[in-house]
């Protein structure tokens, strides 16, 4: 029992900095927030080069200096057939 408890505490601490992959729905919600003018959401989606996926990061999380957030990519807009 004590061993199991130690194992749970170990994994809780080991994984506290692990970012969770975002779902497609979370990406769409993030884009929706940006479209509504909220450029400072409480949760940021950051590109993780090791997996090639966006992961969820809280505003309080310390991100690498070269982290790419979905906001930084999407905020200057997207072209469409009318804008070309």
């Amino acid at each position: 029992m004590l061993g199991l408890l130690i194992l749970i505490i170990y994994y809780a601490f080991m994984n506290k900095d692990t970012f969770i992959p975002a779902t497609n729905n979370e990406v769409l919600k993030s884009l929706d927030q940006l479209n509504k003018g909220n450029r400072n959401p409480s949760r940021q989606l950051v590109f993780d080069p090791s997996t090639g996926e966006f992961v969820v990061a809280k505003q309080s999380d310390v991100l690498p200096a070269d982290a790419t957030t979905i906001n930084s990519i999407a905020q200057d807009g997207f072209a469409n057939a009318r804008s070309l």
Binding site: P21, A22, T23, N24, N25, E26, V27, L28, L31, D32, L34, N35, F47, P49, T51, G52, E53, F54, D66, T68, I70, I73, A74, D76, G77, F78, A79, N80, A81, R82, S83, L84
Partner: protein
């Protein structure tokens, strides 16, 4: 693209897309081929065509795999569509809009272009699951 610029682009791609890209020449055109995984783990292949005067001119991006993407009704995605943010589309590929021409400058990189297309892909999958047009997710 000159050698110095290619080294610069390669360094960024190696950082963010290690082992998922290759520069090639197809029909005398310089291209960058990149594999991208969506958040739902679907795999897409992009072909970024580099104009002769890149980075002064903006590259064109085609999704070449899966071939001929379908919309939520199972029909081929419309070409030159405001709703889908597409340009040329045929049985082989779909050309995706990315940077606004007014926002393009030589400081932008192929990495940023690929990230724009990654967001387009997420919006496309959002279209498949909700039926909303891609333009509902991507602001211009």
């Amino acid at each position: 693209m000159n050698d110095t610029r290619k080294e610069y682009e390669t360094a960024i791609l190696e950082r963010y897309f290690p082992k998922r890209y290759v520069f090639a020449s197809i029909k005398n055109q310089s291209v960058l081929q990149v594999g991208i995984k969506s958040q739902s783990a679907k795999v897409y292949q992009l072909c970024v065509v580099l104009p002769g005067d890149y980075p002064n001119a903006m590259p064109s991006v085609y999704i070449v795999f899966p071939k001929a993407l379908k919309d939520c009704n199972g029909k081929s995605i419309k070409a030159f569509s405001h709703e889908f943010h597409t340009l040329e589309c045929n049985k082989e590929k779909v050309e995706v809009c990315h940077f606004l021409p007014s926002n393009w400058n030589p400081q932008k990189s192929l990495y940023l272009v690929i990230m724009k297309v990654k967001i387009w892909i997420e919006s496309y999958e959002g279209h498949l699951s909700t039926g909303k047009p891609i333009s509902a997710f991507l602001k211009t």
